[in-house]
Amino acid sequence: MSLCKTRLQEERKQWRKDHPFGFFAKPCKAPDGSLDLTQWTAGIPGKAGTLWEDAVYPITISFPEEYPSKPPKVKFPANFYHPNVYPSGTICLSILNEEQDWRPAITLKQIVLGIQELLDTPNPDSPAQEPAWKAFSKDRTMYDKKVKEQAKRYVNAG
């Protein structure tokens, strides 16, 4: 519990000092006017030169009480179009999985960069939703079209 809050403030401080270009991340305001360090919103810019470019994709990050022993839960909006994103928006990424590659030393910066990387390099071996996964493996033209349509919707986000 104590470790969780000192670590979260440390993440906030590190992010403030230095964060990758085009990204944003901030804790949510609680009803009492304080900042809830366990709930963050962030924006992931699509890499230039990929289908995902020119848009910033919003995510929410929730840190459990056992953080950093346990990883945060990271979500895109529901029904986000990507082969490794569940219909609920939950992102399927090994560094966010307690049973796989999560380590307490992984920083917020590494998480958002990992998600940016995932956008254009989906993992076909861990499908999380049917539409994007099917299109990605069987109908690439359709997939590209859908991704670009989605990018247009997030042009002004963030």
Binding site: K5, R12, D32, G33, S34, L37, P87, W133
Partner: protein
Amino acid sequence: MARDTYLKKVLGDECFGRVQRTRVVMVGAGGIGCELLKDLLLTGYGEIHIVDLDTVTLSNLNRQFLFRKKDIDKSKSLTIAKAVQSFNYFGAKLVPHHGNIMDTNQFPLTWWSQFSYVYNALDNLEARRYVNKMCLFLKKPLMESGTTGFEGQIQPIYPYYSECFDCQAKVTPKTFPVCTIRSTPSLPVHCITWAKEFLFHQLFDESEISSMNNEEQIRNETDDVQEKENLAKEANELIDLRNQIKGLDGSAFIESLVVKIFQADIERLLLIDTLWKSRRKPIPLNFNALSTELQQLLHAKNNIISTDTKVWSVLENLFVLYKSGVALQSRLKSGKESFVSFDKDDDDTLNFVVAAANLRSSIFGIPLMSKFDIKEIAGNIIPAIATTNAIISGFSSLNGTKFFKHDYEQTGSVDFSPIVKESSTVFISIKPNKYITAASLVSPNESCPSSSLLSRGIMNLTNQELQENTLRWLVDELVKKYGYEDGDLSIIVGKSRLVYDVDFDDNIDSSLSELSGFEDGDLVLIQDENDELENLELYITVVNEPTTEKLPNIQLREKKAIKEKNEDEQGDSTIENNTNQDGTTMVIIEDEEDTDLVMIAEPASKKRRIAGEEYM
């Protein structure tokens, strides 16, 4: 002979005198508490406070020997204080408190400060962490103890001189995705969760909808249409079976159940190719092949069910499933119960879950487990063994008296270095290789969130001051008092709510009473954003009269200096351990042929010590 003759001999007159004059608190009056209070009382403590929020229940009576049937539903702390009066030979004053130890109204910091020693006899992490924190605040010695089945340990904690409760990370339970449990288990715990939360729940419990059959969750986790359909079919068939329970006779019910869940469901699962690309395929149970042997077992007199610690074979599990399934069916048939909920102490329900979990494990090539081990997992609760509690309580009270060999109370000193050297943690395990291990205390973990790079103190404010003073005032006061460079500090209240840092000054003109997190008993964490000064934790105390010292009069140490000092000290203690090795780790094993305790020192030493010397 006087009752205190031996105590005086063992403790020495001086130490025994101090014990008699002192006031201690025991937090928790359950399994360990019942044993420990007896020990503390017979050690001669002058005044013992007892805190517990629970009332006595039937399931306590098998091991909490100070409680009787007539005590059910009565307050544990009040009952226990009365129960020991018949052997209160030294006339100790017993003060019971019925309440939650974390309630700052009932137990403010000033209440804690009256005790010279704190004995924990708790069963949950949250309360343990809290008591640990209070002892760190007040620099009070704490004896932490706990048992898990046949294992247990005690850990004397001398704040900032030895490891605190938070210095070692504690394991927290993991949660599993529904689809792993329902379609692709790979660990015993997956099968146990399935047997308890899905199978048992759908068949016998009150509501037919279990969390393991949550459509939305399943939809979120898998988009495999086949898998989704399959899971729905499985659940519907189970509900059909449930509806027939009262109409079917015992053997017909069990047979349809077994054939469905361990044969047909598995065969259907095998049809979904995508699931088995990179996994071992399950092998359905062949009920026909086993039925003759099962019949023989059913007709023979067999008490396999009572062998808790042995791992049953597939056939034996089938037999247990049959027996417990029929028992549960007849309970529902009799009409006395309209549903049966899982309860680890209800043997029919536990046997059913153990057998079903193991049968499923065998299908998926997962190791089977004993009833004892499954009970621990399925009950989400550590089985309590009276013997372990008794041994651990003995070590707890015995080790606690070491503190009173010193004159800490008179001198008011909180330099615990001498006592730390004399104390040890003790681990016991009475299964399967019987042994007791003791180890010397270790310095606090450098990265411990509770005891390293942190100072603590009390902030005294009146209600009026809380209303009149703003957050800006607090920031200014903190900078003035502790010297944060450029005023670059952050303030976190509650579990993780940030009220101020240089980039977030929205609340700067709010009064402290307007902000939540500054009430009596609240904890506030101040951190230096430049990373130079150690962290500061403040305990808010609302006082009646304004004081001149609102903030604690301490000097915050530089993080760099603390780290360097720790490195130096660690160097020293390594050398010390090397030269003094024969006394640091002791192992007691039980001799197989002779039940007397034989003690060996580890690593091999020249000197043999007797238990009394080491543990007093």
